[in-house]
């Protein structure tokens, strides 16, 4: 069949389209409907300016200034699907520098998106700022989204607005980016969806039902704020590779509190220690 679903009965499930390699529908335990769902990667090209006056700044370590709309990395990644007693995995390869594993663990009610980005190619002499977008269609969020403040309360954000004054945004994209320490969330009168991050990232919601988080950047020009270096991190002589995880949680609005437990369990995860041993199990016990 063209579509297959990962996830367990009674918890969150995701329908994947074999032909595109992308998720198409989200099924939640207490979701009345199965909204269309899409997740993909795209990148902004970085602005290059002469930095002489304020309006001509380059995108750089201090500044996020995109010079293009978001360019899709690949609308049709190749995928492999693994299914076992504990976890189902969809390995997606979008390009040589973007891949992801979507995981559904048994007895867990959230989806894991384990992304890996880099080395970001710069052979075209363009700086790139890669973001991931999660879209839950049919959510009327009225240009409103929520981001956490250092892991504590959720702050309400409204597109193109500020709580205490009406701004004239010169940067329609960067002007709507906010710090996300552990969570970005959308909600309407019936349901909510959150992306829980494993590190602080920049995030926004530029359209109703959509959450966007920036994963990795690589620029070729300094932005003249003092560091006097382009943000072009290298490791082993090549561009830096970043790997991390997002957790997609959601459902009816009254399951919001459960997410705090999930955040605690991810941010303060159990530590793992290894001990080589020649003892038998009985001796070890």
């Amino acid at each position: 069949t063209r579509y297959f679903t990962i996830g367990n009965p009674g918890s969150m499930k995701l329908t994947i389209d074999r032909w595109t390699g992308l998720p198409t529908h989200l099924h939640g335990p207490d979701l009345s409907d199965t909204p269309n769902f899409q997740q993909s990667f795209c990148y902004y090209e970085s602005a290059v300016g002469n930095n002489e006056e304020s309006k001509n700044r380059s995108s750089g370590a201090y500044i996020f200034r995109p010079n293009s709309s978001c360019v899709m990395v690949n609308a049709q990644p190749t995928i492999k699907y693994y299914k076992g007693p504990l976890v189902e995995e969809v390995h997606q390869q979008f390009s040589s520098w973007v891949s992801q594993v979507i995981r559904a663990y048994r007895d867990e009610d959230h989806m894991e998106f384990n992304w890996m980005v880099g080395p970001i190619p710069i052979s075209d002499n363009l700086g790139k700022e890669l973001v991931t977008r999660y879209s839950v269609y049919q959510m009327a969020t009225n240009s409103t989204f929520y981001t956490d403040s250092n892991g504590r309360e959720m702050l309400k954000r409204v597109l193109n607005q500020r709580p205490t004054y009406m701004p004239q945004l010169q940067e329609p994209i960067a002007g709507n980016y906010y710090p996300v320490t552990t969570r970005i969330m959308l909600k309407d009168d019936k349901k909510h969806f959150s992306i829980i991050t494993d590190r602080a990232q920049g995030g926004t919601s530029l359209q109703d039902g959509e959450m966007e988080l920036m994963l990795h950047r690589r620029m070729l020009h300094d932005d003249a704020f003092g560091v006097d270096e382009a943000l072009n991190e290298q490791a082993f002589g090549r561009g830096l590779v970043a790997r991390g995880t997002h957790y997609l949680a959601g459902g009816s609005s009254d399951s919001l509190a459960a997410e705090r437990r999930l955040i605690q369990e991810r941010v303060l995860a159990a530590w793992t220690f290894f001990t080589p041993t020649t003892l038998s199990l009985a001796e070890w016990q």
Binding site: F4, R18, G21, A61, Y62, T78, I79, K80, Y81, Y82, K83, G84, P85, L86, V87, E89, H91, Q93, S99, V101, Y105, R106, D107, E108, M116, P119, F225, G226, V227, D228, E229, L231, N232, E233, Q234, A235, F236, R238, V241, R243, G244, Q264, E265, L268, A269, A270, W271, T272, F273, F274, T275, P276, T277, T278, L279, L281, A282, W284, Q285
Partner: protein
């Protein structure tokens, strides 16, 4: 105390805005990483001593080394990749019971593993390939091509549970076959 001060000093240096926001020069960023790495090593000494006090019965003096594989995030861990028998100890820093899935990178040479909980009961294990992109990642020095997945259940609050990993007598590990979809 001396060991902890190394991390304290590193974190003291990294109150600087450049360290928090990542706007420092590249060589400074490398030096920050270096300081933190030394801090982690020193804290590892303290953690190992503390865990030994918790784990070992008084009077039992078998040599015990406790490693934290800090490269698990790129599916790399020398102990799980090279030792046939090892113990995985999970310490839960929360004040409530939690369960979580554990992924151990191991050489995918096909032999199977058995994992037993502290009571000696076998736990379900699944072997899943490490994604191709990760195996090709620059800077990853690991032979691991598969990961053992198991679920650590009911880790006690501010406590630990140890799982005993050893080769299983089943000849081949039934790696989850890809239902290849393109």
């Amino acid at each position: 105390r001396g060991n902890l001060n190394v991390m304290r000093e590193a974190m003291g240096v990294m109150q600087h805005h450049d360290a928090i926001t990542g706007t420092e020069k590249q060589l400074v960023a490398f030096d920050y990483a270096r300081q933190l790495s030394i801090g982690f090593d020193e804290c590892g000494i303290v953690t190992e001593t503390a865990l030994k006090n918790l784990m070992v019965k008084p009077g039992f003096n078998a040599p015990l080394t406790i490693d934290s594989c800090l490269l698990l995030n790129i599916s790399q861990c020398e102990v799980s990749e090279t030792q046939s028998t090892f113990v995985v100890t999970l310490y839960n820093p929360l004040s409530r019971k939690v369960s979580r899935y554990v992924r151990l990178p191991v050489a995918g040479d096909g032999h199977a593993y058995s994992i037993r909980d502290p009571q000696g009961k076998p736990v379900t294990v699944q072997v899943v390939p490490v994604s191709e992109a990760v195996t090709k990642m620059p800077g990853r020095f690991s032979e691991a091509t598969v990961e053992l997945v198991f679920r650590a259940v009911d880790l006690p609050p501010l406590g630990f549970r140890s799982y005993y990993v050893s080769p299983s007598n089943i000849v081949t590990a039934p790696i989850t076959e890809p239902k290849r979809v393109t």
